[in-house]
């Protein structure tokens, strides 16, 4: 064990990976020592997930060497990596929706133990112990498919923790977590480090990165641009290395005093999810909604778009009341919705990028049944350009895009429809700082043009940077309202937690 | 001479089943006897459209004569019409309603054959009691004619017998016949007789009867072959079967085809030189033989197929 300083736990050297013409990784080298927390930073599509998949044995590099504890490895596969103590929390969680929480948590550990028989009680015990360690209260027997995105993420974290790992790789583990869970996770990482477990951490939330990591590695376009101790970086310098430019957030312009009321929600209620929700939104206003896990934000957001049928309440856009529980009517009324889980709810993964954007504009570009493909394409390309989607070929399937670019594709689809009101559920989930600022810029621009925007987010700086007003939800009720200009991150965090 | 060697394709409802394998023996015998290129083909699935497709291909291939056992006579009218228009001799079997054929060969009148089975069933039942009837499919014309003939005969001759239930459909499947027979036995506990139509019907019925130990209390008759129903005839679960020898029918069909090609005509009372067809009856285009065979435990050894 004492040799851990001399011999790194993981050494990567000259790893290159290309996908059908795209170079995702180009000659990347990296070492991780035992008990060390390394941050992998970089813009969307810079190759972070690809590197992780290679370490996990899911993808094979075209070139390059990988060593575990000084021993050079042949071609890896997930089983070999797992046997070497590499556990991954994947960006998309990679859970089993049909299995219980307990089984999902214990799955990797059971596989690693090479046991042939399966018994429930040890599985439950292990799961409960791990859940306790993370401090989450989840029914271990609930099927994972019934969980919210945040809870799924916690289960994925627990699964990795339940194994005797030597390296835990976390690919954006905090995207769906609220402040409180993130705290707990960071604590766990500290404890893991103390136990000699190494952590490779990917996140776009720079503050948390700098808080727990010793070393920072920055990728840009598949190349390593810099590597150094975390102490030498601050958020601004890190951003500069990732994007090659300075990114500044500016607060939103004030809403014009004469802006008409766009959306009125009165007494919207859904048993078990939210209760008696009343608020208004003016044209050009950006309204933030925040709350802890399970506070009912997502249900409320879906209800606004008709994806959830409320038990009662009234919703009007402009002068017209919108029928509840009907997404088509909501869309007709000019409401758009960007879902939080873009992979399953937002995107048609196997279809082209163009089609993914264009699908919202089919009616606008068809006459007498005929679709004007040229116009549809121009329209979509235009929006892709305006949102600076990094794609080699807009005819390529959208699944080949990085997470952040995928998110922009979903945004582009709705923006192309020219909505009056946009509900953004986690608009910058998994989006890098540069793009995030771009998206915030887009939101600002939309509000300037008189759109109403509702932003549901856990990212407090994001809320502060984009919103005129922020509603705080607790246990399904709106418990407070603050003006974006008049509050600070600490104050908001306090309101949420209390 | 070489040009006298004719291509005669016998096209059956479905290839491979016992019945048509036996028919193939007759066709081969005809080929051996006469030196013609006679052979038997059939689709892999029991579907009239598959038979149509096969016939289309044979016409395109340019055979000299077609001897057809239609799956569904109506469906074949257009294609057989095309065959005749192309100068191909066409004869059929088991399709008394067929229009586009030179001759249709019937081993017997279907209604008579049904009545013949009923006569045996009634005798066995002592002229009274409940009975049920089975057909391979409700869409099969011959099966329905047999059963209708039998029912009409019973109504006239044996008024004390009663038909229970509807025509039971077995989809030409022995397992289904077995299931249906069980169901009939449960629903009508007093049943004494059953008459089958598809060759697998009596085998399925026989198994159900045997398992319930009712061989002595019930009478089962139907169309089948000794190779299919043999073990139940032996155990007494099936009391008798009737059929006509498909080999002979196949032979006669091919002979008719050659006669048509040679421009010969068939006349009433003619002897076609094969057992059961020594003195045929001609009704329009339909040729009737007296070619049915009744088989029971005693004489089954004489029919090894």
């Amino acid at each position: 064990m004492s040799s851990s300083h001399a011999m790194p736990l993981i050494s990567i050297d000259g790893v290159t990976k290309t996908y059908a013409g795209i170079t995702a990784l180009d000659d990347v080298g990296l070492t991780i020592g035992a008990g060390e927390a390394v941050c992998l930073a970089g813009e969307n599509g810079s190759g972070k997930s690809t590197l992780i998949k290679i370490l996990a044995g899911v993808e094979r590099p075209d070139r390059g060497r990988i060593g575990f504890a000084g021993v050079e490895q042949g071609p890896l596969n997930p089983r070999l990596s797992a046997a070497a103590g590499v556990m991954v929390i994947f960006q998309d969680f990679s859970l089993f929706p049909n299995l219980s929480v307990a089984e999902n948590i214990a799955f990797s550990a059971s596989l690693a133990s090479h046991r042939r028989l399966f018994r429930r009680s040890p599985v439950r015990k292990l799961a409960l112990a791990t859940l306790n360690r993370v401090g989450v209260d989840l029914d271990p027997d609930a099927p994972v498919e019934t969980l919210s995105v945040a809870h799924k993420q916690l289960v994925a974290i627990c699964r990795a923790l339940a194994c005797d790992a030597r390296l835990i790789i976390m690919d954006e583990p905090t995207t769906a977590l609220t402040e409180r869970e993130v705290r707990v996770l960071l604590d766990i990482i500290r404890r893991l480090k103390a136990d000699g477990v190494a952590v490779l951490f990917v996140s776009h939330k720079l503050a948390e990165v700098l808080e727990v990591c010793e070393k920072v590695v920055v990728l840009r376009n598949g190349r390593k641009v810099i590597e150094g101790p975390a102490a030498e970086f601050d958020a601004a310098s890190l951003t500069r290395h990732m994007t090659g430019r300075d990114v500044a957030e500016t607060p939103p312009d004030p809403v014009p005093a004469d802006a008409p009321v766009l959306l009125q929600v009165r007494n919207l209620t859904k048993a078990g999810a939210f209760e008696d929700v009343t608020f208004g939104l003016r044209a050009g206003e950006v309204l933030g909604i925040s709350g802890l896990l399970g506070s009912g934000r997502t249900s409320l957001a879906k209800a606004l778009f008709g994806l959830v049928l409320p038990d009662g309440g009234i919703m009007t856009v402009g002068d017209h009341s919108v029928p509840l529980g009907d997404p088509l009517a909501a869309a007709r009324a000019g409401i758009g919705y960007v879902p939080e889980d873009r992979l399953t709810e937002g995107l048609f993964l196997m279809q082209s990028i163009l089609r993914n954007v264009g699908v919202g504009r089919l009616d606008a570009h068809s006459s007498a049944g005929m679709l004007d493909f040229a116009a549809l394409g121009r329209d979509a390309t235009d929006w892709l350009r305006r949102l600076s989607v990094k794609a080699p070929d807009s005819a390529a399937p959208v699944r080949s895009l990085s997470g952040g670019n995928q998110q922009r594709v979903v945004l582009a689809r709705w923006l192309a429809r020219n909505p009056r009101l946009l509900v953004l559920n986690g608009p910058s989930v998994g989006v890098d700082v540069g793009s995030k600022a771009d998206i915030h810029g887009i939101i600002r621009d939309l509000s300037r043009r008189g759109l109403g925007v509702i932003v549901i987010s856990d990212d407090l700086p994001e809320l502060l940077a984009t919103c005129h007003r922020i509603l705080v939800m607790k246990a399904g009720r709106i418990t407070g309202e603050v003006a974006g200009r008049e509050t600070t991150e600490a104050d908001l965090a306090h309101r949420l937690a209390s | 001479a070489a040009q006298d060697k004719k291509d005669i394709a016998t096209v059956v409802k479905i290839a491979g089943i016992q019945w048509f394998n036996r028919m193939e023996e007759g066709v081969k015998k005809f080929a051996a006897d006469t030196g013609n290129n006679a052979y038997l083909v059939g689709p892999a699935q029991a579907d009239p459209q598959q038979q149509v497709a096969l016939l289309e291909d044979l016409i395109a291939k340019g055979v000299n004569a077609l001897a057809v056992v239609p799956m569904s006579p109506e469906a074949l009218e257009p294609v057989l019409g095309r065959a005749q228009a192309a100068g191909i001799a066409v004869v059929t079997h088991e399709a008394a309603s067929q229009q586009n054929t030179s001759y249709d060969l019937e081993a017997f009148k279907n209604e008579d054959f049904g009545a013949n089975l009923m006569e045996q069933l009634a005798t066995c039942m002592g002229g009274e009691g409940e009975y049920a009837v089975f057909v391979g499919s409700l869409t099969s014309q011959t099966h329905n004619q047999w059963v209708d003939g039998a029912i009409a005969y019973q109504k006239e001759k044996y008024p004390k017998m009663t038909l229970v239930g509807d025509k039971n459909e077995t989809f030409d499947d022995q397992q289904k016949a077995y299931d249906k027979a069980q169901e009939v036995l449960r629903a009508f506990p007093n049943i004494k007789g059953m008459q089958g139509s598809a060759s697998t019907d009596v085998a399925g019925i026989g198994l159900a009867i045997e398992e319930r130990g009712l061989a002595d209390k019930t009478c089962v008759f139907g169309t089948s072959l000794p190779s299919i129903a043999g073990q139940y005839l032996e155990s007494g679960a099936v009391d008798g079967i009737g059929f006509w020898d498909p080999a002979v029918a196949g032979y006669v069909m091919n002979k008719l085809a050659v006669m048509v090609m040679n421009g010969e005509t068939v006349t009433d009372g003619m002897d076609l030189g094969q057992p059961g067809y020594e003195k045929i009856k001609l009704d329009g285009k339909v040729i009737y033989g007296q070619a049915w065979v009744n088989v029971n435990k005693a004489n089954m050894a004489e029919y090894p197929f």
């Binding site: 997404p327 919705y337 048609f348 993964l349 699944r399 | 395109a60 869409t139």
Partner: protein
């Protein structure tokens, strides 16, 4: 739109299928040149395949949404029987001229209406009540066939005016009428799928039904229309069968169901939805017909044909997945949910 270069052309599954179709045609021609290549045989083939080819189009459409229509043959027969009932009741074999044509048109419309209603039934069961398509159409297929049997007592209906035969047996300028009908339908389907918003929606829905809902697509209406169209295609196939058989019966074409599924799959349609092209289905139909007629010419047992068929399907799939890198077309795309 991108330029189609040669490499891209050969990279598409349809192009490989075209190669296979040509190879099969060449092999059959070589094995029995005088018979297979005869005008007789070529026209005969052109008369044969439209029946099941139309059903394959219906299969393509429903499979694109990730569904399937196992009731098409039932619909075909039920529609044909309704048409036949009308024809036999109002225009017997004696009917000629304008009256006969008129009644044929009425019968055709009636058949299409029956197909539409049956398809609507499927669509509502699937889209509104949420039944899995495979079971909904398995069940409804039994019902349609059952009604057809009940309407006719199981026997065939016949005695139509002479014009009825035209649809399945006639020619226009030497081209078989059923082939023309199929060509029109195929072209229409290609247009529908490739050039209309409806077609694009069908493909998008098949790719990810949940995302379609989140994109404010009218998925209920879409599915209903898909099955309605499928039912109407079934009705048209039924009319062709009726015309070619000059009769209608509840059990015609029972072997076409599996055949239509096989052809769609061979034609490159992803049975889990989202991908499928008309040209692929047409090529698969042709391959199938060349193979089938060719083997009949050669006197090969029809059972060996089944064997070759299954083998061909798997061979094509291996070529498709081995030759080109294609991301796994899984039923549920990647992530945890």
């Amino acid at each position: 739109m991108r330029n189609l270069n040669l490499a891209a052309l050969v990279a598409s599954p349809e192009a490989r299928l075209a190669v296979i179709a040509v190879v099969v045609f060449a092999v059959m021609s070589a094995l029995s040149p005088d018979r297979f290549l005869s005008v007789q045989n070529l026209t005969s083939m052109a008369f044969q395949f439209p029946e099941f080819a139309i059903l394959s189009l219906a299969m393509l459409l429903t499979m694109l949404t990730g569904g399937i229509d196992l009731s098409v043959v039932g619909i075909a027969n039920l529609s044909a029987i309704v048409a036949a009932l009308l024809l036999t009741a109002f225009a017997g074999p004696e009917a000629t001229g304008g009256a006969a044509v008129l009644w044929l048109a009425v019968a055709l419309l009636a058949a299409l209406a029956v197909g539409a209603v049956a398809g609507l039934f499927n669509g509502v069961a699937i889209a509104v009540f949420g039944l899995p398509p495979i079971l909904a159409t398995l069940g409804s297929g039994l019902i349609f066939t059952g009604i057809a049997v009940a309407l006719t007592g199981g026997s065939a209906l016949m005695g139509f005016p002479g014009v009825v035969a035209f649809l399945g047996n006639g020619t226009v300028l030497g081209v078989p009428a059923p082939l023309i009908l199929f060509a029109l339908l195929a072209a229409g389907m290609a247009w529908l799928l490739g050039r209309t918003a409806f077609g694009l929606r069908v493909q998008m829905y098949g790719a990810n039904p949940l995302a379609a809902r989140f994109a404010a697509m009218d998925v209920t209406g879409l599915l209903i229309r898909v099955y309605l169209l499928s039912g109407m295609l079934g009705a048209l196939a039924g009319m062709v069968v009726m015309s070619r058989a000059n009769s209608a019966k509840a059990d015609y074409g029972s072997s076409y169901l599996l055949l239509a599924v096989l052809i769609a799959v061979l034609g490159g349609v992803n049975p889990y939805g989202g991908y499928g092209r008309v040209i692929g289905v047409v090529l698969a139909v042709l391959t199938m017909q060349f193979l089938s007629s060719g083997l009949n010419m050669l006197g090969v047992s029809n059972f060996a044909r089944e064997l070759i068929w299954g083998g061909l399907l798997i061979f094509v799939m291996i070529v498709n997945t081995r030759l080109v890198y294609r991301p796994r077309a899984a039923a549920k795309p990647g992530p945890s949910a």
